[in-house]
Symmetry: C3
Subunit: 207 residues, 3 copies
């Protein structure tokens, strides 16, 4: 019994990280839209794209039913709440900076691990699974950048965003199958989030 | 018997609005391509994208077989006929302006209602169904704008394009299930098309 | 027996052309990324997109399982090897020019014929099958151009890229069903590749 309730608590914790990432990406997308003087529709579209397009791309390629962003009501609602928060508060200040960076970094690890896990479940090899982990983690920001006419930061950014996602996906692949939903997710979040924050703090970049 | 033939007439009317929208979006896409000095291939690609990409995005996310734009021969043929019309006639003049605007506005309502209807059929909730209605209606223009390196007008346009699509989708959701293919479609077309035209005529915009 | 081994040899030959196209598109994508000072991640992303996005778009629209670029391990590995070659050697010189052009041209015909063949297998009509052939052949370059903020060359390029793909697809459609995997593929490669190279050599373009 104790074991079951711990497992539930753990998966609740991952869901919290997942949705916190959707929330803060909704806020980031809406803030970018406001910075470019888009209207309310533009804020909602960019918020939804930032928070949910990565997972939607993954689900479209995995071809298993509709994207979970559409079937699980929590995702769209959370992304839109993020947009509304950005609409009411100005989130550019110092106070918001590190909480947003941390939530975004942990979500990156969480999304990469989730994408790799789902790819393994449908039987893909390790390299496609790694790719889908990275797509899940960085796809939303990439589509958002393309929508606003910018070259995606992930292609030539100066921090290790995609590399951290690949590391989180790799951690998931190294964990034995039966522990992936517990230790695999935890390792992905810690490694992906840790690398992202370290790279940002220390200014690491790829050649 | 009379009832059946009326129902057929009604669904024929919706199909006419649907294909009229594809035709006029094929013309619009091709005209934009010519304005940028693209070649014939560019005109065909932009015409097809303008007229059919919204519905294709919807069908890809709903994950039910191939996009109807590929399985129903009328769609591709109609989009290409629109391109050919734009190739032969110059459609920039005054004479073309209001007929094109009206066909485009009615099609926006028709496409939004159709997208929401199909999302409800596969069992999605009201919020994802609303989103898919809007994607169906504005997705083609959005992908077209991205293809030509422009920020999609829908993000910061000065008319209520996406809002009108959301209103048409909402109307479809409020109609009882058994009347959706008749009154739901009619309400979507009238409300979506009416709002679009009113907003354009009166210069309404979102904050 | 002789007949069987010939058939195997032929399909091996087509696979060689297919993967040679992935390899050289991986090299082209990575070279473009380096020209824009993207980092290693940018080179890998653009290489994979150039080599595999066209087929992935086709498979997503055909909606038959996961894209073959994910299920067949050879594709991702080959694209990444192309990126690594471009990383180690500078491939801009004269020596590389014609081998790359020829491999790219033959792959264009091969991909167009493959896309049309697969569309016919799921029962699509000739016009959608032709469209999917062209999407398979030019989709990767198109998505790559959009990613780097350029209007896709295929919309207003000065050579017959998409036209050659359409010709290869048309050739596949004209070959009797039972010969498509042999003569259809061969005709697509010869006609698509030949037209592309002729157009490049002679400077042909569409009005």
């Amino acid at each position: 019994m104790a074991h079951v309730s711990t497992a539930l608590d753990v998966s609740e914790a991952f869901r919290f990280v997942d949705l916190a990432g959707v929330l803060c990406n909704g806020m980031i997308g809406a803030t970018i839209a406001r910075g470019r003087r888009f209207d309310l529709v533009g804020m909602i579209v960019l918020g939804i794209v930032s928070g949910l397009a990565g997972g939607a791309l993954r689900d479209i390629m995995l071809n298993v039913g509709q994207p979970v962003a559409l079937t699980d009501p929590a995702y769209l609602v959370t992304a839109i709440v993020g947009v509304l928060i950005a609409l009411v508060f100005r989130i550019e200040g110092r106070r918001w900076r590190w909480p947003l960076l941390i939530a975004d970094a942990l979500a990156l690890g969480c999304w990469a691990a989730t994408g790799t896990f789902k790819a393994q479940v449908v039987g893909l090899g390790w390299l496609p699974s790694l790719l889908l982990g990275v797509v899940t983690a960085v796809g939303g920001g990439m589509v958002r950048d393309i929508c606003i006419g910018q070259v995606p930061a992930v292609l030539g950014g100066n921090t290790l965003y995609a590399t951290a996602a690949a590391a989180a996906s790799g951690a998931m692949l190294l964990v034995p199958v039966q522990s992936r939903l517990t230790w695999g997710m935890a390792a992905g979040i810690v490694i992906g989030g840790g690398l992202t924050l370290l790279a940002r703090r220390l200014g690491w970049s790829l050649p």
